[in-house]
């Protein structure tokens, strides 16, 4: 670009000329502030966390020893700690599976059958609970699952009071009331993360071309066959994108199991209590690294399958 075709009138024009000659410079300038922020604040903090996890705590003084060791990670394998990890991962997997099952009809209906006004109803119907306050949603379930609450009232109203008692008497998943059992924790997780599954699933289903369904029908496939062989495989990226959220959010949550659930700890609660009252930052950091490792493996696999295009 010479001055003849692009007359420079001021510094703005000269810069424009510079950007035109060196487009990469503008890209770099645009990227610099966000990358600096994310790099320093976020990645920097993650590194701080990672570093702490390789420290250990002095058994007698209770002070952090800033020397590299793998001992803290070794402590994760102690049965009582490993149980916490296992319990959290099992819960995350159960919540994710249930969310897929519950989300599919809503996402499918919204993507393929809802038209005009109903499309908006479905969209907002998922968006509003997604964005409404997390704590308000947890609180709502405290009201619902309380011993004197609406579930007990409804169960007794339809004469199913003893069914509820029988469910609560089940070992492991049962408890004194729904709000102090794993069932309660599971229900709240499922409720709170469900919209995160519906939206990417719907996006993926909307991109399945109608012609493919017609082709499947022309080739003689019935409804179920089309669902299994055409729709589900094409919806998979959406399912994976959604499961990133349901899985990750469950792995790291510490408020839901604290408010609704048995007193047995999940990873999030352990991290919170270790860094707070117990003051064992290294072990808290090591526990926090567990979801990172699980999620990084998951994200790498998801990226390979193209799930990020459905976000």
């Amino acid at each position: 670009m010479s001055a003849a075709t692009h007359p420079a009138r001021g510094p703005g024009d000269r810069l424009t000329g510079l950007f035109w000659r060196r487009p990469k410079l503008l890209t770099a300038l645009l990227l610099l502030p966000p990358l600096l922020w994310l790099g320093v604040v976020y990645i920097g903090s993650l590194v701080a966390l990672l570093v702490q996890s390789f420290y250990s705590i002095d058994r007698f003084s209770g002070l952090v020893v800033p020397e590299f060791t793998l001992r803290t990670y070794g402590e994760l394998l102690i049965p009582s700690n490993f149980d916490i990890i296992l319990r959290t991962v099992t819960m995350a997997a159960a919540v994710t599976l249930a969310a897929v099952v519950l989300a599919f009809p809503v996402a499918y209906f919204a993507a393929r059958h809802a038209k005009g006004r109903w499309k908006a109803v479905f969209y907002l119907g998922v968006m509003l609970p997604l964005w409404s306050s997390y704590l308000v949603k947890v609180y709502a379930w405290k009201l619902i699952l309380a011993k004197e609450g609406i579930v007990t009232w409804a169960a007794e109203g339809i004469g199913a009071g003893n069914v509820l008692s029988a469910v609560l008497a089940t070992p492991v998943i049962g408890g004194n009331s729904l709000s102090t059992s794993y069932i309660g924790t599971f229900l709240v997780f499922l409720y709170v993360w469900l919209p995160y599954m519906i939206l990417p699933m719907q996006a993926a289903l909307e991109r399945v071309p109608a012609s493919m369904l017609e082709a499947s029908a022309d080739l003689g496939a019935g409804g179920w066959r089309t669902l299994r062989s055409v729709i589900l495989p094409l919806a998979l990226p959406g399912v994976i994108a959604g499961s990133i959220f349901t899985f990750s959010l469950t792995l790291g949550d510490y408020i839901i199991p604290q408010i609704i659930g048995s007193s047995r700890f999940f990873i999030g609660q352990t991290v919170f209590s270790l860094q707070g009252t117990a003051g064992n930052i290294p072990l808290a950091a090591a526990f926090a690294v567990v979801p990172i490792v699980i999620m990084l493996v998951y994200l790498t696999l998801a990226r390979k399958s193209g799930a990020f295009d459905a976000l």
Partner: protein, 269 residues
């Protein structure tokens, strides 16, 4: 399973059932704000009263957390707006080495559990000996709000296309004039929507905040304390209603702002 056919009854029921499952619990929050019972969550409520709204209004412990939450949300969403838009602009205009890494980096703060972001920031503050303040809360909030703005902006940039920017340059505008007269007006509603969503996200965030707030109390932290040690339970419901409204209105506004975007910003197809 044709898309133009009538949906099977089972599908319709399951879909509507799913939506009801998402909404009924929130309705219950509204009902309990009017109950006369303040010590338990008895259903059905023994009586109805509107007095809790007045009680909540006069409770002095609610206002400072509300102000802090509003301040944090405003600053965080403003910072996220700038950083998210810059990032989206860079991603929209070029394919460059490390592009995938940048997109992963932007998503990471919400893809990784909030407790990790919180715990990380807290260790960083401990190492850097940074005392807790409004600034430390904002640091965390702005980080996970960037992706919200970014997602909105990058979608609009994609629709904007290169032809309009070329036309602007052909007509003699420099980069800054193009930004002010072409990019910004086209981006405006997407940015407003992204900013409002970021505001709602920050206003409501609790997990990261518990790690970065120290002794300070935002409205969600106030609510969390009430959940653990309840007193005057219906007052919590009144605050919950306010929070629900404070998030619903921006969401609805954001929806209406970006809804017609496909038709209006038609260039570059």
């Amino acid at each position: 399973m044709r898309s133009d056919g009538r949906p099977p009854l089972a599908l319709t029921l399951a879909a509507v059932g799913g939506l009801l499952f998402l909404h009924l619990p929130i309705v219950l929050i509204f009902l309990y704000a009017f109950t006369t019972e303040e010590r338990s969550y008895q259903f059905p409520p023994p009586g109805l009263t509107a007095k809790w709204f007045a009680v909540a209004w006069n409770r002095a412990d609610i206002w400072p957390p509300l102000y802090l939450s509003l301040r944090v949300a405003a600053i965080s969403s403003a910072m996220a707006l700038v950083l998210g838009t810059l990032c989206a602009a860079a991603m929209a205009r070029a394919r460059f080495f490390g592009r995938d890494t940048v997109s992963l980096l932007v998503v990471l703060p919400i893809a990784l559990p909030g407790i990790i972001t919180g715990m990380s920031l807290r260790s960083a503050f401990a190492i850097g000996e940074i005392p807790f303040s409004t600034f430390t809360i904002v640091l965390g909030h702005a980080t996970f709000c960037i992706v919200i703005v970014y997602n909105n902006a990058v979608a609009r940039f994609r629709r904007l296309g290169a032809s309009m920017l070329e036309a602007s340059a052909d007509l003699g505008a420099n980069a800054f004039q193009t930004f002010a007269h072409v990019i910004l007006p086209n981006l405006g509603s997407a940015l407003l929507a992204g900013g409002m969503l970021a505001f709602a996200l920050s206003f409501d965030e609790v997990i990261v905040t518990t790690f970065t707030a120290g002794q300070q109390s935002t409205l969600p932290i106030w609510m969390l304390n009430e959940l653990v040690r309840p007193r005057q339970r219906p007052v919590t419901n009144v605050v919950a209603i306010v929070v629900v409204m404070a998030t619903f209105l921006p969401i609805l506004a954001a929806y209406y702002l970006t809804r017609g975007a496909e038709e209006t910003a038609g260039g570059g197809k």
